[in-house]
Symmetry: C2
Subunit: 105 residues, 2 copies
């Protein structure tokens, strides 16, 4: 993490790396989240939506309270910058694991 | 700009490049600003503070309503990611030019 959640800017910034095949659980952010891919290829999916494939330099905005997951592809590591605005709205809520057939679909 | 200011995330994200010697005017953000240097060497100064020199990968957080300026060094171009949280607090306020002796100090 570059910044902590409790700061006057009400915003966290961190760089997160995933090994090939690694991904988050399903989760949601009360204040939303912005991801900017800084290395590798990312998978990103919102609940009920199709899985997106994002390349280095691409960005995705996830609205507040929308359930989603993100991670690396199967073939290589991935790093993204994660911006968490509106930290005063509350923390992340972690949900269930992303099943293999969902991850690979 | 990757995102617009008026979005559900209440946060703007953009990548900004400066030619050698180029810098912003003095200015302040009602919601604060986070800068992450993604290429080159940056100069950053808050009103009343000393000029900081930031390298690629370094980040600086400028609190809400603190007057500051940023730009490239004299010797090379610079690019930074600019995160503008709390866009609902209001826009940037632009002030006077950064004089050469201040920039070079």
């Amino acid at each position: 993490m570059f910044t902590q959640a409790n700061n006057p800017l009400n915003c966290s910034v961190g760089s997160v790396s995933f090994q090939p095949g690694a991904r988050t659980n399903w989760h949601k952010h009360a204040g939303g989240q912005i991801l900017l891919i800084t290395d590798g290829i990312a998978f990103y999916q919102e609940r009920g939506g199709v899985k997106k494939i994002l390349n280095k330099g691409e960005l995705v905005s996830c609205p507040p309270n929308v359930e989603h997951w993100h991670g690396a592809s199967t073939n290589g590591a991935m790093t993204h910058l994660a911006v968490g605005p509106n930290t005063d709205k509350g923390p992340v809520t972690w949900l269930e694991k992303v099943e293999e057939h969902v991850y690979l679909k």
